[in-house]
C-alpha cells in the first residue's frame, strides 16, 4: 500500500509544482492553441436546419456535428477549395453505390461517439435523416434536390449499417448528404427533449448541441460569441487525430475597421469579411497571410425582370449589357478582387464550355447599345430604377453610380434605390423590381442545378423571371444525364440560350478574402462560403 500512495503523492506534487512554474507559459500556449475568428455576422442557432439560420451558424455546425460524408478538397489556381467530385466518409467508414445507382449503403465507424459518450448508431442516423426530410426545416428543400424526400428511403440494416433507396439514380443524392443540413444528431438525447408539439426537438436543438463533431459548443451567446472546445475523441479529419485548435472563439465584431485592426494587431487570427479596401491595405503591408479565392459557386448579376417592360424586349436587355462599364465597376466595387465574367471572346460565337458560370463575350460598346435600343423601338431610351440592398452597399453603391452614369449616355435614365435587406428580398420575391443587382450561390454548383434553380419557375431565385420552355426542358434533361459528353453539350446549349436571350448579365465571382495570421495554415474555401475550422492549424 505504502509505495502506491507515495507514488501518487510524488506525481501529484510534481503536477502542482509544474503548474505553478509554467502558469504564464501555459497562458501563452493556450492563446496559441485558440483560434479567434471575428465576423460581422453572428451564430444564431446551433441547429443549422432552423429557418433563419445564418451562414455563421452553418459554419459552426460543420464543426459541432458530423455528417455521413464530406467533400474533399482540390487546388484551383494554387488555392485550396472544396471538391464536389471527391466524397469522403465522415461518420461513414465506407459507403457504396449499387450498380443501378438506386441504393446507397453506409457502414458507420464503430468507434464514433457523440459528445455525451454514447455511440453513434444507424438508428441515430435514420432519425436525423428522417427529421431532415420530414420536419419543417431547411434541409427538406435541399435534400429534395438529391431525390431524398421521404423517411421510407432510409433503412437500418444493422446497428452500424444504413441503406438509402432512391426512386431513380441521382448524382446529387450523395453530395447532398455532405451539405450543411443532414447533420447526425444524438437521437436519444434529442428525443428526451421532444414534446408532442415539437416531436423533432427543434426548439431544444436550436439552443443545445447534440452532435459528434470535432468541437463541443461551450458558450453560445447569439449576437456576441460562440465558444467551443476540441472533441479529443474526434478522428474524422485525419486518422487518430482531433482538430488542431483546442479552443475556438467565434466573435461578432460589426465594425469592419475594427476587425481589420484586430487581425492586424494579432488579437484575432482570422477574418473573411473585411472591406476590399482594407484587404488591399493589409496585403500591401505584408505582415498577414491573405488568401483570395474567387467564390466559384457564387455569381453577382445585374438582373432585369424579363416580364416588366421595357426589359421584356430582348434588344433592351442586349442594349443594357452593351452599355455597362464592366472594367470600371469591377475596379470600383471589388477593387478587382474576384473573377470577372465579362470581356471573353467566344470563337464562332458559341460558348466554349458547358460549365456555369462562364465568362461572357460582353463589353462596353455604346454604339452597339444605341443600335440595340433603336432595334427595340426605344431609340430615345426610357427611365427605370436600379435597386440594391443596404447589406451590399459597400460594393453595390459605387457600382450603381457607374451604371447610372453609363446608361445615361444611351438615354436610359436610372434612379438608384437603396433598400433595406428585408424589403429587397420581399420586392424580389414579389417580382416588383425591374432592374437590380443581386448575387446567387449554389452549394452543389453544377450547370443544370444553376439553370433549374435560378432560371425557372415563379420563385424568388429566378431573379430575371425567365420563362423559357426550351431552357427548362434541356436543364431538366441534363439533371439525370449520365453521359458526361452529352451533359457538356447540354450545358453549352444552355449557355448559348442564356447569352442569346441575355436574361440577366453575370458580372463576376467576388473573391472570398481570408485574412489571417501569418502562422495559420490549412485554409480551404468551402461551399458554405465560410471557414471550416477543422481544417486550420498553426505552424
Amino acid at each position: 500500500m505504502y509505495p502506491v500512495i507515495s507514488r501518487h503523492l510524488i506525481s501529484a506534487s510534481a503536477v502542482l509544482l509544474s503548474a505553478t512554474l509554467i502558469a504564464p507559459a501555459a497562458r501563452a500556449q493556450s492563446r496559441a492553441e485558440t483560434l479567434r475568428y471575428v465576423t460581422a455576422a453572428t451564430v444564431n442557432t446551433l441547429d443549422p436546419n432552423i429557418p433563419g439560420s445564418t451562414r455563421e451558424a452553418f459554419a459552426l455546425s460543420m464543426s459541432s456535428y458530423d455528417r455521413l460524408v464530406s467533400f474533399g478538397r482540390k487546388q484551383l489556381n494554387g488555392k485550396w477549395v472544396f471538391d464536389l467530385d471527391t466524397i469522403n466518409g465522415e461518420l461513414a467508414e465506407s459507403f457504396s453505390v449499387s450498380p443501378d445507382g438506386l441504393k446507397l449503403t453506409f457502414k458507420l465507424r464503430p468507434d464514433a461517439k457523440f459528445h455525451d459518450g454514447s455511440p453513434v448508431t444507424a438508428e441515430d442516423v435514420k432519425w436525423s435523416l428522417d427529421r431532415c426530410v420530414t420536419a419543417p426545416v431547411l434541409g427538406k428543400a435541399q435534400l429534395l434536390t438529391g431525390s431524398l424526400t421521404s423517411a421510407d428511403q432510409f433503412k437500418v440494416i444493422d446497428p452500424l449499417t444504413l441503406e438509402v433507396t432512391l426512386p431513380r439514380p441521382d448524382k446529387l443524392a450523395l453530395p447532398n448528404l455532405a451539405t450543411v443540413y443532414p447533420i447526425i444528431i444524438n437521437s436519444k438525447l434529442a428525443k428526451s427533449h421532444a414534446t408532442p408539439e415539437d416531436p423533432w426537438a427543434l426548439s431544444w436543438l436550436k439552443e443545445n448541441e447534440a452532435g459528434s463533431g470535432a468541437y463541443i459548443v461551450e458558450t453560445f451567446k447569439p449576437g456576441e460569441q460562440a465558444i467551443a472546445k476540441r472533441n479529443e475523441a474526434w478522428n474524422r479529419g485525419s486518422p487518430d487525430k482531433p482538430a488542431f485548435f483546442k479552443r475556438l472563439i467565434i466573435q461578432s465584431v460589426p465594425e469592419p475597421a475594427t476587425r481589420a485592426n484586430l487581425v492586424e494587431r494579432g488579437d484575432a487570427d482570422l477574418v473573411i469579411d473585411l472591406q476590399a479596401s482594407d484587404v488591399q491595405a493589409l496585403e500591401a503591408k505584408g505582415k498577414l497571410k491573405v488568401i483570395s479565392t474567387p467564390q466559384y459557386n457564387a455569381v453577382t448579376f445585374i438582373s432585369m425582370n424579363n416580364k416588366i417592360p421595357p426589359f421584356d424586349n430582348v434588344n433592351v436587355r442586349r442594349a443594357v449589357a452593351a452599355a455597362l462599364p464592366y472594367d470600371d465597376m469591377f475596379k470600383a466595387a471589388l477593387f478587382g478582387r474576384g473573377a470577372p465574367l465579362f470581356g471573353a471572346s467566344w470563337a464562332d460565337g458559341r460558348p466554349p464550355s458547358g460549365g456555369y458560370p462562364i465568362p461572357q463575350p460582353v463589353k462596353l460598346d455604346l454604339e452597339k447599345a444605341r443600335a440595340y435600343l433603336k432595334e427595340a423601338g426605344v431609340p430615345e431610351g426610357f427611365a427605370t430604377t436600379f435597386s440594391f440592398n443596404v447589406g451590399q452597399a459597400a460594393t453595390a453603391e459605387p457600382m450603381a453610380a457607374l451604371v447610372k452614369e453609363s446608361l445615361e449616355k444611351i438615354g436610359i435614365k436610372v434612379d438608384i434605390q437603396k433598400l433595406p435587406d428585408a424589403q429587397m428580398s420581399t420586392s424580389i420575391n414579389e417580382k416588383k423590381l425591374p432592374f437590380f443587382t443581386e448575387g446567387i450561390v449554389a452549394w452543389l454548383p453544377s450547370t443544370d442545378y444553376f439553370y433549374r434553380n435560378f432560371y425557372t419557375g415563379n420563385q424568388r431565385w429566378n431573379y430575371s423571371s425567365t420563362d423559357n420552355a426550351e431552357l427548362e426542358e434541356i436543364a431538366q434533361a441534363a439533371r439525370f444525364e449520365p453521359d458526361k459528353a452529352k451533359y457538356e453539350a447540354e450545358g453549352k446549349e444552355l449557355n448559348a440560350i442564356h447569352f442569346e436571350q441575355m436574361f440577366q448579365v453575370p458580372l463576376w465571382q467576388p473573391a472570398q478574402d481570408a485574412v489571417m495570421a501569418a502562422n495559420l495554415d490549412g485554409y480551404v474555401y468551402q461551399f458554405t462560403r465560410q471557414v471550416d475550422y477543422r481544417n486550420l492549424s498553426r505552424k
Partner: protein, 343 residues
C-alpha cells in the same frame, strides 16, 4: 417621513398615468412595423434552397398568416404576460435578449453620462465666470468639436490611437476580453458583478474595456450639458441673491458653488435626463464600433431585417425607460430645489 411618503404616492400616480402612453406606443409600433415594406418571412427563409413553401412555413411560425387585429390581440395578450415574442435573428426570446443587453447599454450610458457631467459642469461654470474670455472661447471650441464630430468618427479615432498605435487600450470588442472569465451574473452590470465576486483584476479589465466607448459617447454630450450649465450659471450669477451674497462678503467658493450653482443646476438635471434617454437609444453607432452588446445595435439589426418582435420590444423598453427617467428627474428636482415637487 411624511414628505417622502407623499412623494412616493405621487410618483406612483404619475407612473399609472403614463400607462396609456405606453399602451399607445405599443400599438403604434406594432402597426408601424407592419406598414413598413419588407416581409420577414421572405428574408428569413433565404437559405440557398428555400422556395415558396419554406416562406409559408416561416410565415405560419411567425403568425403572419393571421389577420392584423388577430395578430395585435395575440401580441397584447403575450406582452401582458411578459412575453415579448421571439427574435428570428438571434433565435432567443426578446425579453431574454433585452434583459441581457440592457445592463450593457445602461452601464455604458451611465458611465458616459457621469464622465460628461464631471467634465461639462466645471467647464460650464468656468465659462460662465469669465464670459467672452479666452477660457469661454476655449470651452466653446471644445464643445463644438465634440458635437460636430460624429461618434463613429471619434470612436474609430480613439481606437486607432489608443488601441492600434499606442496599444494602451484593450481590443475594442465588447464588454470583456474574450479570454477572460465572466463573473457569475447577479446584476448583469459587469462592474458590479466583478466587485460582488471580489475579482479586482477582472473589474479593472472590464473598466478598461469600458473607457474608450464611454469617452466616445461622453465627448458627444459634453456640449449640451456644458452650454446649458454656462447659460443658467450666467443667469444665476447675475441675480439679486448672488449680489447680496457678494456684498456680505461670503467666500467666492460659497457664492459660486453653494448659491449660484445650486440654483443653476435644475435645467442641467433636466437636460441630463433627456440626454441619458437619448444616449441609451441613439448610441447605436458607438455600440457598433466597439462591438458593444447593447440594446440599440440589437434593435437596428432587427429593423434592417424586419424582425418585428425585437423592434417592438425595444421601443416598449425605451418608452418605459423614458417614463422612468423623467420621473427620476422630477424627484431629483425636489432634492435640488425643495420648492419643486412631483405633481
Amino acid at each position: 417621513m411624511g414628505t417622502i411618503g407623499a412623494t412616493l404616492i405621487r410618483t406612483g400616480r404619475r407612473f399609472l398615468s403614463s400607462l396609456p402612453a405606453l399602451f399607445g406606443v405599443l400599438v403604434f409600433t406594432f402597426l408601424l412595423m407592419r406598414v413598413l415594406p419588407g416581409d420577414p418571412a421572405v428574408f428569413f427563409a433565404s437559405g440557398p434552397s428555400a422556395g415558396n413553401e419554406e416562406i409559408e412555413v416561416v410565415r405560419r411560425q411567425l403568425g403572419l398568416d393571421r389577420s392584423l387585429p388577430e395578430q395585435l390581440g395575440i401580441y397584447l395578450y403575450d406582452v401582458g404576460r411578459g412575453n415579448l415574442g421571439r427574435s428570428m435573428m438571434t433565435g432567443q426570446p426578446v425579453a431574454k435578449d433585452l434583459r441581457q443587453r440592457l445592463p450593457a447599454s445602461l452601464e455604458l450610458t451611465l458611465t458616459a453620462l457621469v464622465i460628461a457631467l464631471i467634465a461639462a459642469v466645471p467647464l460650464g461654470v468656468l465659462a460662465a465666470l469669465r464670459p467672452n474670455s479666452l477660457i469661454d472661447h476655449g470651452v466653446r471650441l471644445f464643445c463644438s468639436l465634440g458635437v460636430c464630430v460624429p461618434t463613429f468618427v471619434s470612436g474609430l479615432l480613439l481606437i486607432y490611437v489608443f488601441y492600434y498605435l499606442l496599444g494602451l487600450a484593450p481590443d475594442p470588442t465588447g464588454r470583456i476580453d474574450v479570454f477572460a472569465s465572466v463573473p457569475p451574473a447577479r446584476t448583469g452590470f459587469l462592474m458590479v458583478d466583478f466587485l460582488l465576486a471580489g475579482d479586482v483584476e477582472g473589474w479593472w479589465a472590464a473598466a478598461r474595456q469600458l473607457m474608450l466607448p464611454a469617452f466616445t459617447m461622453a465627448l458627444f454630450v459634453i456640449a449640451p450639458l456644458a452650454r446649458i450649465t454656462r447659460a443658467s450659471m450666467l443667469v444665476s450669477l447675475g441675480s439679486d441673491f448672488v449680489r447680496t451674497a457678494r456684498s456680505i462678503g461670503l467666500s467666492r467658493w460659497q457664492i459660486v458653488v453653494t448659491y449660484a450653482l445650486r440654483n443653476a443646476i435644475l435645467p442641467v438635471i433636466t437636460i441630463a435626463g433627456i440626454v441619458f434617454s437619448t444616449m441609451l437609444g441613439a448610441n447605436v453607432l458607438v455600440e457598433k464600433v466597439f462591438s458593444w452588446p447593447g440594446v440599440a445595435s440589437y434593435a437596428l439589426d432587427a429593423l434592417l431585417v424586419s424582425d418585428y418582435a425585437p423592434v417592438q420590444g425595444f421601443v416598449l423598453l425605451m418608452a418605459s425607460i423614458f417614463v422612468a427617467v423623467n420621473l427620476l428627474v422630477d424627484v431629483l428636482y425636489g432634492i435640488a430645489d425643495p420648492r419643486a415637487t412631483v405633481v
